[in-house]
Amino acid sequence: MVAAVPAALAVVVVTVPSAPAAKRPAASTAVGVSQREFRLTPYRTRVPVGEVRFNVTNFGEDVHDLVVRDARGRVLARSAEVRSGGRLTLAVKLKRGRYRLSCDVANHAQLGMRAGFTVVKPRGGR
């Protein structure tokens, strides 16, 4: 009944060296992502340019992962596998444009574990 302690968290940082959690780049946006069989749901689908931290929670029973591709299908970031009930952060710097999120485990993407994602210029510009 007692939930897992934070030590169980896998934190995968792609573009930023794993530094003490305190300081993050100013332009960093969190995007919650839920996974279950066979759905992948980002809680926010438009974010400003900069670092995007995908906070993935696997609510399903299978193992899943998270892969970020640009519009041409090039893989920009790939997470480790997330076990059932597990969580993981995938951080990636993204320019303006459209991106695809998917789970590349087995044929999960084909079964529905994929979603679109847009990075826009922040309001007011930067």
Binding site: M1, A3, R24, V31, Y43, A115
Partner: protein, 472 residues
Amino acid sequence: MARRRSAPAPRAGTAARRPPRPAASAARRRGSSGWTEAHVHRLFWRAGFGATAAEARAWAARGRAATIDWIVDGPPGGTKLHGPAPRVDGRKLDPVNEWGHDQLWWLDRMVRSNRPLVEKMTLFWHDHFATSEQDTPRMLAQNRLFRSHALGGFRPLLKQVTRDPAMQLFLSLADSTKEHPNENYARELMELFTLGRGYSERDVREAARALTGYRSKWTNKGFQGIRYEAEEHDDGVKRILGRRGRFGVDQVLDLVCDHPRHAPFLVTKLWQFFVAAPPSPATVRALAATYRRSGLQVKPVVRQILEHPALYRNLAAPDLVKAPVVYIAGALRTTGSAITDNWPVWLSSTMGQQLFQPPSVAGWDWGPRWMSSNAVRQRFVLGNYVVNYGRPRVRRGAYKASLRPDRAVAIAIAAVGSPPVSAAERAALTRLARHWFDDIPKSWRDKADWRAESLQRTLRHLLIAGPGAQLC
């Protein structure tokens, strides 16, 4: 309503935070009809997340009726959060997207709301209609639903909960169809939500048929909500709880609400949320009568419980174990501290209570079962955080080693918001203070003020997280 220990110089916008002034200073400690600060502390902990020193003083002077009115009906002007919104890592909370911020967001309401009973009842419903493992946006939506119905009618709440997407997906009521009825929701509806017992497996099966027809909608943009589709609903004749008819969703909900077992079931559960000792049969009858007479309104029942003498029994020897989130939010609220970091999230989950993630549809195990050995250890750790980062922080160079032990204890008690402290606890703390410098030769004492700081830290830690702080 003030959350700070001593009233600061008036600033713009702080007027609303100040509690009403006592009518006369003679009435400070003891109000009319034996209503004391100890009563106020008891009520505020049971109905909310503790009282500050200023609240205890002011409401003891205002008397019992005014205090209970304020708790139950709230201040005029509606719900407000006092003080600045929390910032974690220099940013505003992002409850939807950042892990743990959903919990911090709610804990912050428990700490800063001027309607503590509403937050406490929201917690009651979160446990009563326990839903878990659902996407954060839907859990937050369900939380808003509980809050808006916190003290309202049970029937409309049940009707909303039955249609709530998080609940529907959790108990597979969504996509329970005429062809494939799913019994999960019907079973918990009777066992956990409304009756407890007094129904049969057949009632569950037939109610499941009556509850069919909801479909979840998904597109490549994700979840699009729940819709009722009449052609998926089983409109045949059902036999439920001794009644026969072509029952639909709301009729089943009415059947369980009107069942003779419902009122005693719900009022007993409410009582157990506020009072450790079980209710007498006469008390259950009286509460159930109030509940039925009001048309299944929750507020008059809660008011009657909060007015009941049993709630104020043994003021010097509290017997209700504070639930982890109540303990944490209460420590912050009563000491005038704010949420500034993530620590409440992992601390409450290691104490056995992670908001938005109850262990099962039956909710959490309340009472003494909170006190596992690991949870007790984590409860003690809370003292570190509040003393190091909260308002009871020990100021450098502010305390003398020559301070009398009882004075040192009094300063520590005031610094943590003047919580109720039993005579035995005060004596133990004073003893600790008296021997704190024993290993230092007398002639060095005037150089030992740094040790007075460690004494203050220790006393405050023990007041916030010691045995006396675990119960209310």
